[in-house]
Symmetry: C2
Subunit: 673 residues, 2 copies
Amino acid sequence: MTTVTALAGRIPVTRLTPAVPDPRWHPKAFEGEVVPFRATVFREGHDRVGAMLVINGPSGVEQRHRMAPLAPGTDRWEALVRLDETGEWRWHVTGFDDEIATWRHDAGVKIDAGVDVELMYEVGARLVERAAAETDRPRAVRKRLTALAGALRDGEASPADRRALVDAPVLAEFDARPLARLSTDSPEQRLLVERRRAGVGSWYEFFPRSEGAKRQKDGTWKSGTFRTAQKRLDGVAAMGFDVVYLPPIHPIGVTNRKGPNNTLDPGPGDPGSPWAIGGPQKDGSAGGHDAVHPDLGTLADFRAFVRRANQLGIEVALDLALQASPDHPWVAEHPEWFTVLPDGTIRFAENPPKKYQDIYPVNFDDDPQGIFDEVLRIVRHWMKQGVRIFRVDNPHTKPLAFWERLIGAVIADDPGVVFLAEAFTRPAMMQALAMAGFQQSYSYFTWRNTKAELEEFLTQVSQETADFMRPNLFVNTPDILTEYLQFGGPAAFTVRATIAATAAPLWGVYSGFELFESVARPGAEEAIDNEKYEYKPRDFAAAEAEGRSLALYLGILNRIRAEHPALGQLRNIRFHASDDDSVLVYSKHLDGRFTPDGEDDTLIVVANVDPHSVRETTVHLDLEAIGLEAGARFEVDDLVTGSRWEWGPSNYVRLDAFTRPAHILHVRRGSDA
Amino acid sequence: MTTVTALAGRIPVTRLTPAVPDPRWHPKAFEGEVVPFRATVFREGHDRVGAMLVINGPSGVEQRHRMAPLAPGTDRWEALVRLDETGEWRWHVTGFDDEIATWRHDAGVKIDAGVDVELMYEVGARLVERAAAETDRPRAVRKRLTALAGALRDGEASPADRRALVDAPVLAEFDARPLARLSTDSPEQRLLVERRRAGVGSWYEFFPRSEGAKRQKDGTWKSGTFRTAQKRLDGVAAMGFDVVYLPPIHPIGVTNRKGPNNTLDPGPGDPGSPWAIGGPQKDGSAGGHDAVHPDLGTLADFRAFVRRANQLGIEVALDLALQASPDHPWVAEHPEWFTVLPDGTIRFAENPPKKYQDIYPVNFDDDPQGIFDEVLRIVRHWMKQGVRIFRVDNPHTKPLAFWERLIGAVIADDPGVVFLAEAFTRPAMMQALAMAGFQQSYSYFTWRNTKAELEEFLTQVSQETADFMRPNLFVNTPDILTEYLQFGGPAAFTVRATIAATAAPLWGVYSGFELFESVARPGAEEAIDNEKYEYKPRDFAAAEAEGRSLALYLGILNRIRAEHPALGQLRNIRFHASDDDSVLVYSKHLDGRFTPDGEDDTLIVVANVDPHSVRETTVHLDLEAIGLEAGARFEVDDLVTGSRWEWGPSNYVRLDAFTRPAHILHVRRGSDA
């Protein structure tokens, strides 16, 4: 530990980000993400430093970006780069002695003060001569630099003309290619860029067995199938969703099957929970994670469902729930994949003293290689059917190392496969799952409903953890119907959808949300007559016709998302003030350097998060945070209603929970006076 | 990057601290420091984890400490360890599946609920049998475990007796030596423990030339010498200081010497600034950093000064100021150690357009090895004279890597050498100097005067940066006389000394503070007629006799520091509430496990930081933070006045700036009822 050679470079470069809290893993981004690369770069004394980001894409193309200083006193430097190629990027930061900047500063001050005038011109002349001698600079530039050296030495020139040379245009040459004498490269950093769908998507979840399910004359149900469910895809596409996530589609256990509302005494026609995986197939044999529930049809029917979805621009995501009903083929064939108790029985899932007797949890320790191989086989099986997205059920109840290994093996085959972690658990595990491989994570969003909660939550997911964790803002799930939705009426649904769709590039909706389904099982935070245990066909068309549907609005939200690249970014959210504790204000801003049309894209969302009131208040914008000048006035378009207003630093808003609880405004560029 | 083998262990262990922000360097502690070792340890599912700190001292002795969980939900675990051996420690954390804890929890709940009763006893019996089979457990323990297994299986026992076995005393065996099936060792960590003086000390700074300086009849001055200055050491020792820091003791330049109050036209008798190093010696030759100013005496006199100090329990710290007057021998012999300008002159220190013509800054880049060798030679020269502490002047104006290399080379010879960084600069450089080797750092303390500022500052230095940076809380310096002291009167001096001496284990005073010297040079933040440019003999005895001195109080502060081990720790400060924005309240608490007498040592400091008022308010203590029960009542002794009060959760205080602006209270143990 007694270092006699220094670990610090000549120009210290430290604290590089993107970074992850545990250095075993590396940060990640998604295709098209605009990533802030930052480092702390400083030196001794008063001379100027510069910082250059050197970044190499997977195909080997090197980019160099001059970094700009952040807040004074922090010694933090930043360059924003849009990463347009998937794969592993490598980068480092070079800190250097910026002799040109030091000279321009010192010469300017000293010449104006009449101190060392000739000396400062001579120092400058020698600097630009040194640059002119660098043969890898363009010939024309070198000629101009040589000429500048001569002019700097020209004591006959007028003092004003000569003084102007300190700011000569050719000196801009050094912005891109500095004259660096002392420089230090940071250690090389790595960054994995995943496919765009890993970071941007609109998810819709539905149970295929419900779509087309019919109650028979005898009172029993006929299950929906992939063929009938396929018809629902048009409606989903019309709402603009681009991922359809299906709960498990496998045979369901019969032993200890759950009845309606999680009861323990099902009727003969009750379909059971799809998460109780493993049950009889058509031929009576037991089918598991690689099988399709016989009521839903065949594997060919599933493939047809996937094809139809793809035609509509939708990807299909499957559930990966590593647990087994007592009827799963694993139970007989591989008891070593479960925990066998001293009495010879297999241990049920439990939360002592409660037991969940329809499910056996998997034991990952008694035959780790065997269970790993089997799960990898299952994932590859579904990949062969066209599935590249998996929503993983409760990954936090399985070993972290198992997921790291599994996802590593899968993306070695196909780097575009995406895993969404449903880990509603403590931050340590949630974050570790993301660091170790999961591309997306469910989040605490459903439980963050007040303005203060949302500001804190969204700041955390967009700033503090964005280098490694991407939140998918589901507004509801079969397991989660929050009190906010239970008691907030349509305004609550509208506001939550607005925020989820605009605050982050990943959001999700579970079917029935658009119908304002809000009745919970008493004492529970989930819907009554839960679809997990029952068929639940819904008449979306009738609801729309009768004005009892949010489907049209969800479609508008997804259209706005598609049209505004600022919404395809995670890190660009900034909060603005309002004078009302229930009026949340945030912007999403993307500089024109990074948009397809070269124009800045700026949205301002103003939402009344109290679903029971009308709020009138003033919104105070930090205009510089959205690329406008302090004090600017400009026009905004309401992207939902088409209204247009003139806005400025402070703006009156009125948000009526009962009619229009949120604005999504787009700043018209060129409109600022 | 596609990991097919997992980097996560079976039981994830992440985010280990102590740690430094830049992983090139390692954290450090000082001898006797009680260090919180922490890690995030978690696992999948509901089963219990445990965490064990395994720590190896430099002499190879391994300690194992069971870690305790911190705040619920954080998955953070901690063990506090006092490090009593200097040198490099190595440590790691083992996370493990705590089967015994899981069983005790599950069995307790399930047996009480009448679920799986026999099964749970059998599971427990098998666990303790497994432990009993481990041959490295003591024989007696193994016998007791075997007996327990039998008892657990004894269906004839009374249900209550059998149920009690789940909490059988022998199970405490597993606290120290768990029954661990799945476990993971974190990567090995390193921690450098430096000698105690690196982290604990009371510094006193004085100019030896002032002590014993006399104005002659002709109006000129006769300089003080090491021999006359030596007499001051008794006074310093009486105040309880244990480090005396001397400004540079080398010959002072004549060329462009500064006059009184930093003027440019000194009189013939003006002594010049000791930081303008390099000037004539007695024989007329030029002396530099290895020479003693002829007015101060000889090298032998210096050694005698050091010896006398050591006899009084005081170490002598020298200044290391790497700059040269134009008369320094380096200038003629090694112009390559300076910056030579195009006109052939050597560049002065400057802040354009201002120049400091009494000093040439060193150039570390033109002959880096030469200047390094020279500075190392100088440091070793003073080490040979008995110096093991260096106060480094403006290290932030020299390359970070230079210091890293220099300190590395010095501590390779003598790990006990301490360097204090006088880097009043931005956080990036300050922190990097500490990470790269400096054992102590001046801090922003002098500019943190309000209650809110002090709470933020002290929290930062004691919590956020304590793994690598140790603040030395100087109350003043020859360069710093804050407005708070200029205008706060004696109360300001009393309060600042109280806080500096008790809030951190390193503090410092520059001579004259005890005399309430408070007149600044107009427009400057430093004393008028600054001792940097003049002789300034002080009559400490007369001031004390006339009651115009804080010397007695400084002595009390240092006595309290010596008597209370809680004050010898940096990280143990906790803030408590008061109802007054100017009444600062903090405690320093050290558990009896870590004190010499085995008793908890707890101090409560209450300070009125408004030096112009009398404040009456209520102080609200977080009693659990200081090892007391919520709601406890207990006695406190005022360590300054000897008063005793009964205190509890909320306490009235009256702090009169004009008589007694602060309390230092000690909690009497055993007094809590």
